[in-house]
């Protein structure tokens, strides 16, 4: 769910860019690939069907490809394609609406797929200059953890660089208290901590983009660099030669976030880390969080000393790393007890935001979800949805499997069942939501109160009209008073003037 959120926020940023900037962005094949991956699935399918087809096609035909139960997705797909200016509408002779692909995008995307003219947009590899994965993983997770630890306020934390602090402040994740000039985490900051690693990085990078614009840095250069980072291969060295000046300036900042590694600041090569790969990925299992990354490094060292199991061998063959059972997996029971297989202080600190921690073992912590613990979280500005999403994405694979099996059984019994995958026990999910609702006992509406009517006919006339147009929020017939929402007020007033003046 949060990956959707992430896509949404990145897409929104891209959609808001002026069209000339978008067109310049589409000149880079790597950027096109990354943008393509951010689109909704149906949109991706449509795009692919149009890439190798130079002709315009009827919008009606696209519509026919989709079954009636997929109309929502269809609308969503067309909307996102339009707002990114990826499709160009045109009327044909008979007046029917035709659409074609943006020619710049088509050219670049074709090149990306066929390996044609890619103009170094996927980086230049320097062979024979590789680096061990362990160093990279350790570097990236230590950098990233420093930021997170600083936000949680762990006493042992090192202080991140001034740039990072500036970014945290301007994004509103932390604020400087006026008296002591100390940094204090804000409500947004708490919410930020519960997000997945890729969403977190993007939040910071979008903020970075906004700040960079004020320094007259070209957003196209920055975005191209960010998307390029997402398409590189971890463990390879890349040359800085072909980078533009803006991008060279960015290297230092990216180093501070742990996205890239350089042996020293003047080095002519840089190494992308696994954090940078997460940028264009919505795969929550690639890197769960930096905490998980650090744990997996520890785990890996253990594995290396022992026997290398067949699993990792195969994964290397297929070209994937880190697909093992993620560290920090959480099990939630129906009795509100929670077990988390993690000993990373960060994971524990995050859990303690909404959990009453009970015991700590060598490789796990246990805790209880209580009304108090959830309320503390809610008053800190964390929403019930965020807690649930966090628990869902960090759920232990066993829980996921169990839920999938249950769903499968249900679907076999009743193929039309509308049930969705329930990873967490429904009792817990509902209860957390109910605890949030406890805080929302009062809902405020802006509007106007109508009272002091001369006669009941007058009252009835107006209140009935307000009800008919659906703006009536509350009425009391005895006291002859009713309340109308802000949006409907002017309509009711107009009506009153027309009707009552006539008499």
């Amino acid at each position: 769910m949060s990956s959707d959120l992430l896509k949404h926020s990145v897409n929104q940023y891209l959609e808001e860019l002026p069209q000339p900037v978008q067109t310049r962005l589409y000149e880079s094949p790597a950027t096109c690939l990354a943008i393509y991956r951010l689109l909704p699935e149906l949109a991706k399918y449509f795009m692919m069907s149009m890439v190798f087809n130079e002709n315009f096609i009827l919008l009606r035909d696209l519509d026919r490809w989709v079954k009636p139960n997929g109309k929502i997705q269809f609308q969503e797909a067309i909307k996102s394609l339009k707002s990114l200016h990826l499709i160009i509408p045109k009327k044909n002779d008979t007046g029917a609406l035709m659409i074609g692909l943006n020619p710049t995008f088509r050219e670049s995307f074709k090149n990306a797929l066929t390996g044609g003219e890619v103009r170094n947009s996927f980086g230049i590899v320097i062979e024979n200059n590789s680096i061990s994965m362990d160093i990279l993983n350790e570097y990236s997770s230590s950098k990233w953890e420093t930021i997170l630890h600083f936000m949680v306020g762990t006493p042992i934390a090192k202080i991140p660089s001034a740039n990072v602090l500036n970014l945290l402040k301007s994004s509103g994740l932390m604020e400087e208290t006026e008296t002591t000039a100390e940094f204090k985490i804000t409500n947004e900051g708490f919410q930020f901590l519960l997000q997945e690693a890729n969403a977190q990085i993007w939040t910071l990078l979008l903020q970075y983009l906004k700040m960079a614009e004020s320094f007259q840095m070209d957003p196209v250069d920055i975005l191209n660099f960010i998307f390029m980072l997402g398409s590189l291969e971890v463990g390879k060295a890349y040359s800085t030669k072909e980078l533009s000046d803006t991008q060279k300036n960015m290297l230092k900042d990216m180093r501070d976030y742990g996205l890239i590694f350089q042996k020293n600041s003047e080095a002519s090569v840089f190494y992308p880390t696994n954090l940078s790969i997460v940028l264009t990925s919505d795969n929550k299992n690639a890197v769960r969080s930096a905490a998980g990354a650090l744990d997996s490094v520890v785990q890996k060292n253990k594995d290396d000393s022992g026997n290398v199991d067949a699993n990792t061998m195969l994964n290397d063959e297929v070209g994937l790393q880190g697909q093992k059972t993620p560290e920090g997996a959480v099990i939630v029971e129906t009795n509100f007890k929670l077990y988390s297989y993690s000993n990373s202080p960060l994971q524990i600190a995050i859990l303690s935001l909404f959990l009453h921690l009970k015991t700590r073992f060598a490789n796990m912590v246990t805790g209880q979800i209580t009304r108090e613990s959830i309320r503390t979280a809610l008053t800190n500005g964390i929403t019930a949805e965020q807690i649930i999403a966090y628990l869902e994405t960090h759920a232990h694979p066993q829980m996921r499997r169990l839920a999938e099996e249950n769903l499968m059984k249900k679907l076999e019994l009743d193929p039309n069942s509308k049930d969705t995958l329930q990873i967490l026990p429904p009792t817990v999910v509902d209860q957390i939501r109910l605890w949030q609702l406890e805080l929302d006992r009062v809902i405020c509406y802006d509007g106007s109160l109508y009272s002091d009517f001369e006669s009941s006919t007058e009252y009835n006339l107006l209140s009935k009209y307000a009800q008919d147009i659906g703006v009536l929020l509350w009425r009391d017939d005895k006291k002859r008073k009713f309340f109308v929402s802000k949006e409907g007020n002017s309509q009711v007033l107009d009506y009153a003037k027309r009707k009552l003046n006539k008499k």
């Binding site: 399918y45 069907s49 079954k67 890619v118 103009r119 795969n283 697909q323 996921r400």
Partner: protein
């Protein structure tokens, strides 16, 4: 309380309706039996049709990898002597091919790898390079075998291997809830009907296991007759797509439209399938496609003739002689007048 609670829960419901994107695995089984393709080349009067297919396939694989960052691909070749994993390289073979590499290193780097651009996106390049390399060694082996050994179609074997691979990968990466599909590319010739028919039982077995692991099988048939009884049955039973193309021109366009439907999109996209599927089966002994035939009551194998020796050719169970005798009895042609009671008499 209810009035307040409602909007909150409704909102949640809408959110859950959104399709969660999950990565998918595409396993391609390609039939590269040289005999079939040469026949096809001869018929079209154009050489190297298989190269067109392979070129389109490589771009198609890239497109699949572009669809989602954690998408996976695998390619299996069904050649005249068996099957071979082209990507990922099979473990035991990799050592051997490394040795081979030393031999013809200069040749390969000069020609084959040159096709793949150096600056291509790394994930594409890794797949494409391995694929081209493995194909090259495979074709060389095939060349040695020309004329020496009998050639037979190993498509069903390739499909079984694809299913086994799919099952293994989904199990290994169950944390990712990987979806999967299989695509079969074959070349049809006029003569191979008989060949295909003997693959009926293995293909049926593939269909059953594919439906069990909910893996759709798509089929592209290049050239040959328009229909392909058993492969069409395969796509029909597994919710796959059957596509027949007459030439390899513009194959990529076909791939990127008809074959690009991700498993997660199958529920909402109209499949480009044609209506009718031939559901007939084949005889175990003669290989003829039969509409009405005999069935062994033990193993359910279908026969068009009464087998010699009164034994089931598949499971060796002996048939009851009386039943056989009854079946062998010539039909009685009754006189017209006794038409009504004829049924009772013949019994």
């Amino acid at each position: 309380m209810d009035a307040i609670a409602d909007p909150n829960f409704k909102h949640q419901g809408n959110k859950l309706n959104a399709v969660e994107e999950s990565p998918s695995l595409l396993t391609v089984v390609i039939d590269i039996t040289p005999q079939l393709w040469t026949e096809f080349d001869g018929k079209k009067g154009k050489k190297g049709n298989i190269l067109d297919v392979l070129k389109a396939l490589i771009v198609f694989l890239n497109a699949h990898l572009a669809f989602n960052i954690s998408n996976q691909v695998a390619v299996i070749a069904a050649h005249s002597q068996g099957i071979k994993y082209l990507y990922p390289k099979s473990g035991s073979n990799s050592n051997a091919s490394e040795l081979d590499d030393d031999h013809n290193d200069h040749y390969e780097t000069n020609t084959d790898k040159f096709i793949i651009s150096k600056n291509m996106y790394r994930r594409f390049r890794n797949v494409d390079e391995t694929l081209v390399e493995e194909l090259y060694t495979l074709f060389k082996e095939e060349k040695k075998n020309v004329g020496k050994l009998t050639q037979k179609s190993t498509l069903a074997g390739g499909m079984s291997a694809a299913l086994a691979y799919t099952d293994r990968v989904t199990r290994e990466m169950e944390t990712m809830s990987l979806k999967s599909r299989i695509m079969v590319i074959t070349c049809g010739s006029e003569k191979n009907n008989r060949e295909e028919i003997f693959q009926y039982i293995p293909i049926m077995n593939c269909i059953f296991s594919a439906t069990k692991i909910k893996c759709p099988i798509d089929v592209v048939k290049v050239g040959g007759s328009k229909e392909s009884t058993f492969l069409q049955q395969t796509t029909d039973a597994t919710n796959g797509i059957y596509l027949h193309v007459t030439s390899t021109n513009g194959l990529l366009q076909y791939f990127s439209i008809a074959m690009f439907i991700d498993p997660s999109l199958r529920q909402i996209i109209v499949k480009p399938n044609k209506g009718s599927v031939d559901f007939r089966t084949s005889c175990y002994v003669t290989g003829r496609v039969v509409a009405v035939g005999y069935i062994c009551s033990v193993c359910l194998c279908v026969l068009s003739i009464i087998p010699p020796g009164n034994k089931c050719p598949a499971c060796d169970s002996e048939f009851d002689e009386r039943v056989i005798a009854k079946l062998k009895k010539k039909p009685v042609v009754p006189r017209l007048a006794k038409k009504k009671s004829s049924g009772h008499i013949s019994k």
